[in-house]
């Protein structure tokens, strides 16, 4: 808390020394992200003659949210444009400008799912900048060696993983595992578990129409039972403490047949030091049973304009430029950031840099949003309860049916009248 206050003080100091007409934008601070943001902003400055400062913010997204809330909560005009996570529109909506009138229809070229995620109570509070979706990474060489087809369903994946894992272990690699994913008690588990739910047609935790919890249903129970069945069989028990990077560590060292991860892992598995370079394929996550559907959880980041800015018009123009086709194309080619504009997935230069963008177009367009719009400021509480209930099932502390019944009751206590209603 104290450190955040100091950061705010530093930000305020920096901002105060700038000219009154200039804009300040906060971009992601992770290596390439900041650099690409600075480049694009410089292009705009050159074109329009307006001065823009790029403000670096903490890497950890939880801390970044806390910092944003302090700045916005005090009604400060010191930052005009914020880069926000896909699950934050509901939390921050009250502090953000409705971009719909300012965008003049520009939002229509972006993926409809993301635009609707960024729309809170009819207001478009943020423009999509880049997107993420959960993907299934697989070892082409191993599937070929054991003559296994690409898994269409989770059941097929389980069987293939089992077979290859047993075969490889018998052949001498006793570290081989079938499937690695994110099972740590954190937001990443909510993403993975939502994919299981939706693939089995078990709903999205909270029903978007009524705002009531929809989690307590037989399909959701089945989804969690399937996942719990992997732990200790085709998935190491330690997955209960794995995030994205731990899973990638196992997969990239050549010790897993399948991995669930975000697109960023692609570029890293193709690097020179990767043990699986050239042996990796990417596909959509499997369906839950034959009559299930493919589901990928939606991730990604947006740009939003603060309600307290003195130049909403100008800030919106910069946001439209940065989220526009030209800049998104540069970012896709130079940094493998998934565009949110459908047309770019047919652009030859983009496809050359990221071959799987084309094949997985459908996965990116049909990605499922976490229930963040409907739950608003309570999203983090809902997600926390969901990942803890899931974690209890995965670790065997509780069976799926009773864990979900408890979760249902506890979500109802959180919002007796349903989410999205008067609270």
């Amino acid at each position: 808390m104290k450190r955040s206050l100091i950061s705010v003080a530093v930000l305020l100091g920096v901002a105060a020394s700038a000219q009154a007409a200039s804009l300040k934008i906060s971009c992601g601070a992770v290596g390439q992200e900041l650099e690409l943001c600075k480049q694009a902003v410089a292009q705009w400055s050159k074109k329009t003659g307006h001065d823009v400062q790029v403000v670096a913010t903490p890497n950890d997204s939880n801390e970044r949210l806390a910092l944003y809330q302090q700045i916005l909560g005090s009604g400060s005009d010191k930052i005009d444009i914020f880069q926000i996570d896909v699950v934050w529109p509901g939390i921050l909506a009250n502090h953000l400008v409705d971009l719909k009138p300012l965008a003049r229809g520009a939002e229509k070229q972006h993926f409809a799912g993301i635009v609707s995620n960024n729309t809170v109570a009819g207001r478009l509070v943020a423009m999509p900048w880049f997107t993420d979706a959960g993907l299934l990474y697989y070892r082409k060489d191993l599937l070929e060696k054991y003559k296994q087809p690409l898994p269409k369903t989770w059941e097929a994946l389980t069987a293939s993983a089992r077979k290859i894992q047993d075969g490889e272990r018998a052949a001498g690699n006793d570290r081989m595992w079938g499937y690695v994913w994110q099972g740590r008690a954190y937001e990443g588990l909510s993403c993975d578990a939502l994919e299981w739910l939706v693939s089995y047609k078990g709903g999205t935790i909270i029903d978007n129409a009524s705002g009531k919890p929809s989690i307590n249903n037989p399909q959701a129970v089945k989804a969690l039972q399937t996942a719990a069945g992997w732990v200790g069989t085709i998935t190491p028990k330690a997955v209960l403490n794995y995030g994205e990077e731990e899973a990638r560590g196992v997969f990239q060292a050549g010790n897993a047949v399948f991995m669930r991860n975000w697109p960023y892992a692609w570029a890293l598995t193709q690097k020179d030091d990767s043990a699986v370079r050239g042996k990796v394929g990417v596909m959509a996550l499997p369906k839950g049973g034959a009559d299930g559907r493919n589901a990928a959880t939606l991730g990604g980041w947006q740009l939003a304009v603060s309600k307290y800015t003195r130049n909403p018009q100008l800030a919106a123009e910069l946001v439209l430029f940065l989220t526009g086709s030209e800049v998104q194309k540069q970012r896709a080619i130079n940094g493998a950031y998934n565009p949110t504009i459908g047309a770019l997935y047919r652009d030859p230069a983009v496809l050359q840099a990221n071959p799987f963008f084309g094949e997985l177009y459908n996965t990116f367009t049909s990605a499922v949003g976490r229930p963040s719009s409907i739950t608003g400021t309570r999203y983090n509480q809902v997600s926390n309860q969901f990942w803890n209930a899931t974690h209890d099932v995965l670790s065997g502390k509780s069976d799926a049916a009773s864990a979900l019944a408890r979760l249902d009751a506890s979500l109802k206590r959180l919002a007796p009248a349903g989410f999205g209603r008067a609270q």
Binding site: M1, N62, E63, A66, Q69, Q70, L72, G73, I91, L92, N94, H95, R175, G183, R184, A185, Y186, P236, K237, A238, V239, L240, N241, Y242, E246, G249, V250, A253, N255, T377, R378, N380, Q381, N384, W387, N388, H391, D392, S395, G396, K397, R413
Partner: protein
Amino acid sequence: MSSETLAPPLCLPPRTVSSLQRSRQRMAWLLVAPSLLVLLAIAGLPLLRTFWMSLSDAQLADLSSRQFVGLANYIGDSGVLNDPEWWGAVRNTLWFALMSVGMETVLGLGIALMLNHPSRLKTLLRAAVLVPWAIPTVVSAKMWSWMLHDQFGVINAMLLALGLIGEPLAWTADPDLAFVTIVLVDVWKTTPFMALLILAALQMVPSDCYEAARVDGVPTWSVFLNLTLPLITPAVLVAMIFRTLDALRVFDLIYVMTSNSRTTKSMSVYVREQMIDFQLVGYGSAAATLLFLLIALITLCYMALARRRMEGH
């Protein structure tokens, strides 16, 4: 404090309360005043503010629009005291404090006794034993996380090579192991602190006591039990209270090693989660106040017990 009543202190005959005495007392207060003021400013005010916040429904997003809700955050239907997760965190924290401080005291005592033994290596050993204590907790927690990693960790590799385990253990993920693992990492880190404090106490024991015991032919075990232990007990008790206070506030170790898992969540982790992740500043403040009260209560009980024990001797 009793100077206002002008009643003379009991131990002195009335006549000796001179103006000199009074001016000395004034002087004493004046000398203490600066540190008291600083303490009030840096400890008292934030504490009061936290308490005040805990009586409101403040949210992180907009602190100014909070409303007074009385004790609802404490005893309301969805108050802290009715939240099973809070009690889970309390139980975890108390267990953690009990287990870690207990093990640290026993190990620290052992190491201190060994270091107290005259040896040429003593200085080197004394420095070496301090290393874990010198590493920042976040760094050592991350370091242990990697060493305990189920796939690449050195601990699993060693145990496997020795044939002690059949397959790699998921130290920080397995709900049966995670808690014990965290206690052990804390023991590794803070045993040196205990050892050094106890060593300092050991070196204060007058050597003529030992000489007398040797002359009388008292067996070593009995010397330790009836001579060394009683003499170092006050120092050990002080070291234990320091460690207990630290252990009750434990945050960084657990936050880094197992994040938000319910299995190992401590009271401090719970407070942070409510205030920052859920933006419930009012509710989180209530939990923080309870955390403070609980620690204060345990400290008071402990000090009362320790004093009675000392006076018993």
